[in-house]
Every structure is written in structure tokens, then in C-alpha cells.
Amino acid sequence: MAAVAAAAAVSSPLPPSTSPSSTTATTSTTTKTTTTASSPPAAAAAAMSSKSSWIALGCEGSANKLGIGLIRHTPTSTTILSNLRHTFISPPGTGFLPKDTALHHRTEFVALARRALAEAGVRPADVDCICFTQGPGMGAPLTSVAIGARTLALLWDRPLVGVNHCVGHIEMGREVTGADNPVVLYVSGGNSQVIAYAERRYRIFGETLDIAVGNCLDRFARVLSISNDPAPGYNIEQLAKKGTRLLDLPYVVKGMDCSFSGILASAEALAAQLLQLGPGPEGAGFTVEDLCFSLQETIFAMLVEITERAMAHVGSSQVLIVGGVGCNERLQEMIASMAKERGGSVFAMDERFCIDNGIMIAHAGLLAYRTGFRTPLEESVCTQRFRTDDVYVNWRD
């Protein structure tokens, strides 16, 4: 509690470029308690060698979710201490813009960090490192959260650990489900990749050639003014349950890659037709539900196909689904059916871990931290493009 308040108190020595973050912080500048900042770095370094427990704080904000979480590792166990999320929801018919989303993250960061610490019952002195999403994602939101993370790191005198968002998803998925070496289907609003681990890297076997699958769903929802609360994909899923007719949409798989932009264009054209003519036999001849159903059936069939091809290629029978679209129960069901036929199984999670969250950043960051990885302050810049296979995975055999 007191320590976060101190974050605001020390915000002045930050470079001028970080000033946007301090707008939210300045709301609580009065408390001057700085108990935690007094722990000398030498003591922390000495403690490293004989440690049997590590705690990391993770900050995620690559898209419209701001997530902060704390995790504890011991040599044998992993404990989630807190996992909080605050989502920026834009009105129906619109998407979230970088500027507004960044403002949201800046506004909510301090309050969320306070709550995360309080819920975890952890003092800043107990935290070993501050992990943050370094990319990929939207530039402005990433930067806002990185500033928050840098502030905490400077304030508490703790090292920073930059984390690849995709690797965060994968590591959290493996931890939560216990999947050992699965083929990973990572599907979200910004990414669609089929990944498998080989020789210290998460290698991308297949991915979208244009837009991400979640982006396709989000933009389709916008045309029909489907609500963004709690998520457009969730609302499409509910509508699709009532659909019965399969409309012809393009089906684009190229090897282990696929493409969604043509499908989106077709679905948008059908949606425009529907809006103009109305449903029913005299109108367009199909309903909003039919269209949602057809879109889901087509794009998920594509995802299952590229996943199956990757599984056949690497000879694995386990699949792990991560990312926001991974919450979709129809997708989970389709993948499960495919995996079962191949004599394997699927590992899926619920929204707490599928949708972007801080805990996955803390977890992946802490794994790297324990192998000695640090991100010096001057290298803690964010990048909108950060390939999954750029990360050297030192913590796996």
C-alpha cells in the first residue's frame, strides 16, 4: 500500500518523456512513506544465491486489457497470488483506438497495481522483479504500461524483465494445464499462430498471412453493431449458437498458414446485404445468427486444419489453445474432437488465463529472471512487432 503511494512520490526524477504516466500517479502524492526503497541492491544480490522462493509482478497492456498480477515460484510449485484485469470497452460499432486505450491504461495502472499488491498480501520488498510486455501489441498502450513498470522498478529498486506477449501466453498455458510439450494454437485479436517448441525456441509453424482471427471477428461485430461487452467474440459465439444455415464463405488455407481478410470482406458484404434487405425469405434469406454461425464454422475449421497439419508434421498429439479466441467453446470442442481422433488431447483454459492478463507476463518473466535474464532500463523500449521465435528459451530443455 504505502509503497505504491511512494511510486507517486518519486515520480519527479523520471525523464520528461514519461510524464503521461504520472498524471494518474499524482492523485496520491501526499504519502511520503518510503520504507521499501531503503533495501540496498547488494542485499538483494546476496539473497539471490540461496533463494528458494521468488515473486514477480507482471504488467500487461498490449491491447485493450490492462492486467497486473503477482506470482510466486518455489523450486517445486507455482502460486498465483493475484490476477487482476481492467478492460477498456469501446461502444458497439467501434474498435478500441490506441490513443484511448493508452489513456485507459495510464488512468487505471496505479489503482490496479495497488489492488494487486493488496490482494496478494505482498510488500514491494518481497517482489524480486517487475515484468512487463515488451511486445508485440499496439504501440501506445504498450508504452503506457512499460512506463508504469519502469516506475515501479526504479522506485523499488528491482530489475525489469521484458516479456514477449506470445511466450507469456504459452508459458502460462503450459503451467495451468500441465501440458508438457504441446503444439500451441495461439489465437487472439492480434495474433494467430501455430507454434511448437524445438531447440530452445518456440517456432512458428503456421500463422495468418494478413489479419488475426480475433481481428476478423471484432471487425465483423462492428458491422452489425454487436456489443463489445464483455467481448465481441463472446457475443458472436452466443449468436452463432442459434444459427442453422451454413453460408458459403471463402476457405483459405495455404500450407500451415491461413488468411482471414477475404473471409472478412465476404462476411461484411453479406452483413451489408442483411442490413439492407432484412432477414427472412423475402429479404436476404438468412439471419444474423446464421451469419455468425457460418463465420465461426469456416474460420475455426481453418484453424483446426492448420493445427492438425502442424501436429502431423511434428508428431505431437497434444494441443494447447491460448489467446482470447481460445475461450470460444465451439473452437475448443472442434480442436478436442480432432485431437481425440489423433489419439491425443486438448488443453484449454478459461477466460482468466486465455484473455490477456498480468499473471502470464509475471510467470514467463520470472522463468527468464531465474535463468539470469534482465532487461536494463535503457533497453526496456517496447516494440509493436516482436516475433515469438526471437526469444531464446533458456528455461526449457
Binding site: E297, T383, R385
Partner: protein, 261 residues
Amino acid sequence: MTATAAEAAAPHDFPLPKILTNPASTPPTLITQGAEGRLYKTTYLLPDIPCALKYRPPKPWRHPVLDQRLTKHRILSEARILSKCRRDGLRVPDVYALDEAAGWLMLEWVQGTPVRVNINQRLGSRTEGIEDDEELKDLMRRIGAAVGKMHSIGVIHGDLTTSNMMLKPPAQQQQTTDGATGLEGEIVIIDLGLASGGVHDEDRAVDLYVLERAFGSTHPRAECIFGEVLDAYRQSYKQAGVTLKKLEDVRMRGRKRSMLG
């Protein structure tokens, strides 16, 4: 063509396609469960003519209408492309028979192993000297020539990987060394289920890019000699240079590009 050993150890009880339940047909062996379907080994016409039966079973997770549409389209298109390749002199399996509604395609049986197996056995656990392995580089050049030939006759594979190429050992070697995997032999491109006709440099370049990336993720240590594939490709037909130029664009495109920092 993957995990053959594992599949054999734990066979699944898949229902056979109807064609294989005829009393006249040789008892089939399930060779592999690929991504697309199952591959059986049986015989065609005479008991001593082995053949491969590619069966695309209905995929219960797919909407039945979509499933039928895709299966039919892929069987027919694969058969057409294979015939075209044979006509134009590219070594691929011959088409013996097909039934697109029932979802099967009967093909010539190609002796040998997928190139992936040969490369991996050759690499073993080696980390050094790979870039000087002349025999391996020669194999790379044969791959490049085969892909070039395929592109020169206007065929785009759509799923080029080292699993989708067979290395058919020379005839005299077949009797002596069973199971041994040398690097000699003829490249036979297989699994043209995603192939299409096309003479655009863009499509050819994407085809090469798919191979390049699949190669990198399957044989990370041999990535250093992938250049041999492209070298041989360059010499295999007239417009190859233009395609390779385009490949550079494809590599740099959009989300494939890395922009660290």
C-alpha cells in the same frame, strides 16, 4: 508421413473406407495418419502391384456441408494436378483410381523415405561441419531442381515441406539396404492436396517461402545450407530469378518481418 513408428505401436481402430473392405483387395496397412487423412498401403489390380490409398475421412468437427465441399474439391484437384505433372515430366506418384464422393484417391506406391527422415538421420546430433557436407548439399540441390521443375510447368504445391518429398533410392540399392537412409536417389514430390495451377511469381515465391520456413523449423541446424536449394532452383528454369527476387519481398512482408527494438 510423421510419427510412423508411434502410430504402428499404438494402432487406432479407424473404420476402413468401403473400397478397402472388398474381399478382393489385399489387407491394407495403415501407414500414417497425416494431417489430411490416412494413408494405407494395399495393392492395385494384381497382388504384386503395391499402391497407396489416400483416404480423406469425414471430419466430424467440420460442418457436413463444408466438409463435403472441401473433400470433393481436394480429391479432384489433387488428381488433376498429379496427372498434369506426369504429363509434363515431373516425378510424382501416378494416379490409379479415385472416388471423390467417397473421399479416396489411389496412387502409385513410392519406395523410400520422406526427405525429412534422411536429413535428420544424416544430421544426427551433429552441430559442426554441416555447411561442408557435400552429399547433403547435393540433396539440397536435387530438392531445388525438383521444386523448380514443378514451378516451371505451372504447378504450385501449397504445402512444401521435407515431409512432402520422398527420396526414392536407386533401384540396385533397394534390395541391399532396407531401412538404411542414404542421400542418393530421386526426389518424388508427394501430397499435392493443396496444390494449384499457377504461373505467378507471387505464388511461386510464397511456395518457396513456405518451404524455407518449414525447413528452418524442422531442421534448424541445417538452415545454413538451405541456400543450395535456392541456388539449384535458380538454374532450373528461365524465370526462376524473378521468383527469387519476389521471395525477398515475401520475406520482408508484413507480419513475418521482425522489428525488434
